[in-house]
């Protein structure tokens, strides 16, 4: 009680300065975390692609088909079958989806293989399915995006599929909240980056076996491009031969080249997106440390009186720690609320996003903790160095000068 009384008594003396530091620190952290979220959204696709565990010489393939042709889908399937038969090819990762009726609303239902799940962020709630279809015939589903953000684990979603509107029950085992980034192989260009393979969308993700049960080929769609993964044990010559065959069927870029180009792009993006926020945070750091040091020097006389009356140096340092800690804590709490409360409200569709697409995962919490903790420690270190350098007698003597 007395320590609290003393603490707030001293806080009143530097209230304006503390509020200024708090405001600057909070805004600097906000700008930084926001930019970090945007940067993470961009780099996340790189991380997810790496997590897929594809062979180093895997390729992203674009078949040569006439996209205006009515038989495009058939041509794509034919090329896919031909590719799957090539020696050395272990797996073809392709987007497969269909449309189901969920009440009056159409909803996209996507087949999720094990490889594709490795390229998808873990559900924000619940988990991926182990079995595609349960013993009772219900289908396990991970729901994604704004349309399903209020879904609870265990909820049942009735859908109708196909021209006969055959009914099925989907049981929610996981929820992917906004931005609900999922693999999507719908783009190709002269320079392919990992962001090409992902899209933020709303829909239902079910196992491949379940998808094959619910959708026949005539009501299923596939993507125009796909990943081709090679057997890890295949020889160089086998892979070279397969890649040469691919050049006859379309165009491709190797995963190695894609990752390299993405790294270069991310580095440029970092400079564009992060440099200024980092500068702001550094400024906030410097301001916090400077004002804390000013606070120490201004209160040197008070500290010397305190010491005279039996307040130990350790307690003086603890009081300074409380002050620095409180400022850092409040600034951190405001930003923590932004990361979680704001994100949840955007994910739930309760408010529109006021900034660009951001991704705040556990790393964002860790980054915030690192920044807040670093600021606190740096402030304490600077203040403690000033005090430790002085013996009590020097304290008293200097306070009189």
């Amino acid at each position: 009680m007395k320590r609290i009384y003393l603490f707030f008594s001293s806080l009143r003396e530097s209230l304006l300065a503390d509020l200024l530091v708090l405001a600057v620190l909070t805004v600097a952290l906000f700008v930084f975390m926001d930019a970090y979220g945007m940067y993470r959204y961009i780099t996340m696709t790189y991380d997810l692609t790496q997590k897929a565990g594809l062979h180093a010489r895997a390729v992203y393939f674009c078949p040569s088909v006439d996209m205006d042709n009515m038989e495009t889908e058939e041509q794509l399937r034919a090329i896919k079958s031909e590719v799957e038969a090539l020696p050395g090819v272990q797996e073809v990762l392709i987007d497969r989806w269909g449309t189901a009726a969920c009440g009056d609303m159409p909803v996209k239902v996507t087949a999720s293989t094990e490889s594709l799940r490795r390229m998808t962020p873990a559900p924000d709630r619940g988990k991926w399915f182990e079995e595609g279809i349960n013993a009772d015939g219900s289908v396990n589903v991970v729901v994604a995006g704004k349309q399903f953000n209020d879904a609870q684990i265990g909820d049942e979603i009735p859908v109708q599929i196909g021209p006969e509107r055959k009914p099925y029950t989907l049981r929610v085992c996981g929820v992917l909240s906004i931005p609900a980034v999922v693999p999507s192989f719908g783009g190709y260009g002269s320079q392919v980056l990992t962001s090409t393979f992902f899209k933020s969308e709303s829909g239902l993700l079910i196992g491949e076996d379940a998808f094959d049960t619910l959708f026949t080929e005539d009501i299923e769609r596939i993507s125009s491009q796909f990943f081709i993964d090679f057997d890890q044990n295949a020889s160089q010559e086998t892979i070279d031969s397969a890649q040469e065959a691919l050049t006859r069927l379309g165009g491709y870029q190797t995963l190695e080249d894609i990752l390299r180009d993405t790294r270069a792009f991310n580095a440029t993006t970092f400079k564009q997106v992060m440099v200024r926020p980092i500068f702001y945070v550094v400024i906030a750091f410097v301001l916090l440390v400077s004002i804390s040091l000013l606070y120490v020097f201004k209160r040197l006389k008070t500290f010397s009186v305190y010491y005279l009356l039996g307040y130990s140096k350790r307690r003086i340092l603890a009081d300074m720690a409380w002050r620095a800690g409180l400022i850092a804590l409040v600034a951190g709490a405001v930003n923590f609320a932004y990361l979680h409360v704001y994100s949840s409200m955007v994910a739930a569709g309760k408010i529109e996003a006021v900034v660009g697409a951001c991704y705040f995962g556990a790393e964002a919490d860790g980054m915030l903790l690192l920044l807040v903790g670093g600021m606190f420690l740096l402030t304490m270190l600077a203040s403690a160095l000033v005090l430790r350098g002085k013996s009590a007698v020097v304290f008293l003597r200097e306070s009189r000068d």
Binding site: L308, G310, R315, V393, L396
Partner: protein, 234 residues
């Protein structure tokens, strides 16, 4: 009550060590009123700081009310200082922008004393030094004499065994100085609180019953002061 045995203290000065205290042997009993005198640089303030547990020493022993303080860390020394030693300094050592009452309560705020009753104790202490009516004023609104009374009240509130005064009248005119010295004498006589004061002033010295003279870090004279008309007149 206090016993120093063969106490030495050195300060590093450049590449050498300056001896601030040399072979100090000193015993101070309860209820004494002592002046420590000497030229500048004699070691008076250093001795006062050692007595007040504000500074450490390099060799020797220091026993305070039966406790060996030599091995005490800063936290324990601060706690002992808070409970048993009051200070009256030349520059008053008060927090000028805070109220008189806050300044007097400060030692209790640092102690284990419960918050309840603190205000009353502070007002009682101010009553004893004759300025209870100034309790609500800020210190920087008071005269020099009033500020020194506040400092004395702050020293008294912890019911100390020892009051250490460093040039307590250095910033005061002669009339105010006498008032302060009479107050300290009264406290010493009525409550048996030991008072040790560092001074250059003969006026202060005349109020003390024991005079210690220092030179070059040593005690060169330690004797009962001759009875003076001033001291006996109190």
């Amino acid at each position: 009550m206090i016993k120093l045995t063969n106490v030495n203290k050195f300060y590093p000065v450049g590449k050498t060590n300056f001896q601030a205290l040399a072979d100090i042997d000193l015993e101070i009993g309860k209820g004494e009123f002592i002046s420590i005198e000497g030229e500048s640089g004699a070691g008076k303030s250093t001795l006062l700081h050692v007595l007040g547990l504000l500074d450490t020493f390099d060799s020797g022993e220091y026993w305070f009310e039966g406790t060996d303080v030599r091995r005490m860390g800063d936290a324990k020394a601060s706690a002992l200082r808070n409970r048993r030693i009051g200070f009256v300094m030349q520059d008053f050592a008060l927090i000028p922008h805070k109220t008189v009452l806050f300044n007097v309560m400060l030692p209790l705020l640092f102690s284990k004393t419960p918050l309840r009753g603190m205000r009353k104790r502070a007002l009682d202490a101010l009553e004893q030094v004759g300025i209870a009516e100034q309790a609500g004023k800020r210190v920087n609104q008071l005269s020099g004499g009033q500020r020194q009374r506040v400092a004395i009240a702050r020293a008294l509130i912890i019911e100390p065994a020892l009051i250490l005064a460093d040039e307590p009248t250095g910033a005061l005119d002669s009339q105010t100085s006498r008032q302060i010295l009479e107050l300290l004498t009264k406290i010493n006589a009525a409550r048996g609180i030991t008072v040790v004061t560092v001074t250059h002033s003969k006026l202060v010295s005349d109020y003390c019953r024991r005079k210690i003279v220092m030179a070059d870090g040593r005690i060169v004279q330690d004797q009962a002061a001759p009875a003076s008309a001033l001291a006996e007149g109190i």
